[in-house]
């Protein structure tokens, strides 16, 4: 009797959890379903979730039209370069805070934390002015450099904690063997920190891949657009062809999903450390 009640209870829980999950992913189901409806002016009424004649036509026309491949490439270049820069420079900075003594160290660290508290949007107007003065408007470098800057400030805090948790003894042993701090950093500290660096790398990449506001602000030239900007203007041009817009959105979402699914073990740690907010 007790057992049956318990089983019943568990079934109810699974039903509730599933219902909730369906609600959470319902918009994505609609997006996928409509992307596979060819030539439909997708405001069907009543809406149908299962396409009648599924076709990949939308994906082909999205991929081959409007310089979409160039935008995909722009996004990939910007996100990759900014991620490499962020991981490298944040790690160097964090290592200095974790392992060296120097004048004004804690004041500088506190200053970085205060800046970290202030959202990037607050300084978007003067940053636009700076980008214009440095001739970084309509340039992918204008995106990369500013993304690295926010990434360094954001991740130094997290990586400092990680480096401080590494045992000092190994580094001391290397010093006695005559290694200089750079050798210790690249050959010992970095390899030992792979999980932390991976976490920083993944979150930086996703953040840079999706970044919209800064790109919207400094990129006017169509050839320099990244995917988020391109998708939005795509919707503007093809207002009623939602199937096409959804196909473009799915293509942009695929790298994100691949990273999420294949590197899931880094996610929970990264989120719960409190260092990252999606």
């Amino acid at each position: 009797m007790y057992r049956r009640k318990k089983n019943f209870n568990i079934i109810i829980r699974y039903l509730l959890a599933t219902a909730g999950a369906v609600l959470m992913i319902f918009p994505f189901l609609v997006m996928v379903s409509n992307a596979f409806k060819a030539n439909v002016f997708v405001i069907e009424y009543p809406p149908k979730l299962i396409p009648e004649n599924p076709s990949i036509e939308n994906f082909i026309s999205a991929w081959t039209s409007n310089r979409f491949q160039l935008y995909f490439l722009n996004s990939a270049v910007v996100a990759l370069m900014a991620t490499i820069g962020t991981v490298l420079f944040a790690a160097l900075t964090a290592y200095a805070f974790a392992r060296f003594q120097f004048k004004g160290k804690e004041i500088l660290f506190a200053l970085m934390l205060i800046v970290l508290m202030i959202p990037d949007m607050i300084s978007i107007i003067p940053r636009f002015y700076l980008a214009r003065s440095l001739d970084l408007r309509n340039s992918l470098w204008g995106l990369i450099l500013f993304y690295i800057a926010s990434g360094v400030t954001g991740n130094t805090f997290f990586l400092r904690g990680f480096f401080e948790s590494l045992p000092k003894e190994l580094e001391e042993a290397m010093t006695i063997d005559g290694a200089n701090p750079f050798e210790i950093f690249f050959r010992l500290a970095l390899p030992l920190s792979k999980p932390a660096l991976a976490t920083v790398g993944i979150f930086s990449f996703l953040g840079n891949w999706d970044e919209y506001t800064w790109a919207l602000t400094i990129i006017d030239e169509p050839a320099k657009r990244t995917l988020p900007i391109a998708i939005y203007s795509f919707q503007g041009q093809h207002g009623t062809e939602w199937g096409l817009v959804f196909a473009a959105m799915i293509i942009a979402l695929i790298p994100v999903l691949i990273i999420f699914i294949s590197l899931q073990r880094y996610f929970a740690g990264g989120i719960t450390s409190g260092a990252f907010k999606g």
């Binding site: 909730g20 918009p27 120097f102 800046v115 107007i125 919209y212 998708i231 929970a268």
Partner: protein, 298 residues
């Protein structure tokens, strides 16, 4: 070149610090200072023109600006609705998933998908869902649930246009808090709950008296992060309503952005941004007061 060991030791930290600090100084500190200066000027966009110092005029203007008042109110509403909304639903979902014998990882991943999807994509999806008259939300309201007689003009009606933005804010954020709550719940010792159940406590008492106190630092942490995130609402408003109709759904950041990049009033936009920064810094200090030692949470 020969450097003494002592000099080498002194220079070493600098070599590690230089790249990061250059980025920090040029692309973060300088704009923050420049923006502060701009907020006291009648900023001229054209290079070469002199920007006049106007003292606190830009700030004074904000306090007499009806639209800014509305933007402030909307930001507050957004925060007060979406923060508890996300937290309560996330907690319920976390407890539910935590109680499942199998499949936790799968469910966690499904609920997390909206979090990893970019704001641009989800904002466009929401616009599609709330289309009028033939959007999906209207279909469900009119044809399936018969809640309203005729389709609602969601994005055209000032009284309704903010609703999709609020719904998006809650829906997209649930997974983030949920993952954090799940991690916290996993850290609650099973023995404690079992002991209290033996003493006759029901599920609710158990949660309220055993689980809650143990995970309360986590709850405070998510609350503070979400509050700051709530004040930062921008992309969804910018893309779903553009602050319209008739500037009824502007939030603080969208209004500052419009001032700067549509009306080219950089000085005023900068002043609005700094008012916003003051709010966020105050919130952050409240956080530090509430959580004396934030590192102890995890």
């Amino acid at each position: 070149m020969y450097l003494s060991l002592k000099t080498q030791k002194k220079l070493m930290p600098l070599l590690f610090l230089i790249p990061g600090l250059l980025f920090f100084a040029i692309f973060q500190i300088y704009p923050l200072l420049k923006g502060f200066q701009m907020s006291f000027l009648d900023w001229q966009i054209m290079p070469g023109k002199v920007s006049e110092f106007v003292g606190l005029d830009n700030y004074a203007r904000a306090f007499n600006d009806v639209v800014f008042g509305r933007a402030f109110k909307n930001t507050l509403i957004y925060t007060l609705v979406t923060v508890p909304g996300q937290m309560i639903i996330a907690m319920i979902v976390a407890i539910l998933i935590n109680s499942l014998p199998k499949g936790k990882t799968l469910f966690r991943a499904l609920y997390y998908i909206p979090v990893i999807t970019s704001w641009v994509i989800v904002s466009l999806l929401i616009r599609y869902f709330f289309q009028s008259p033939n959007g999906i939300v209207n279909y469900f309201l009119v044809e399936v649930f018969h809640l309203v007689e005729k389709p609602l003009p969601w994005l055209r009606d000032p009284a309704l246009a903010f609703v999709p933005i609020l719904i998006l804010g809650i829906w997209k954020g649930i997974g983030w808090s949920m993952v954090i709550y799940l991690a916290a719940l996993a850290g609650v010792p099973k023995e404690l709950e079992e002991a209290s159940a033996m003493d006759g406590a029901n599920g609710w008492q158990n949660f309220w008296h055993i689980t809650m106190p143990l995970i309360s630092p986590t709850i405070v942490f998510t609350m503070v992060m979400l509050l700051i995130g709530g004040f930062n609402v921008f992309i969804s408003v910018y893309l779903i309503t553009g602050g319209g109709p008739r500037q009824m759904t502007e939030v603080m950041l969208s209004y500052a952005y419009h001032q700067a990049f549509d009306f080219l009033d950089f000085g005023y936009g900068a002043a609005l941004s700094y008012l916003m920064a003051a709010l966020i810094i105050t919130l952050s200090f409240l956080q530090i007061k509430l959580l004396r030692k934030p590192q102890e949470i995890y």
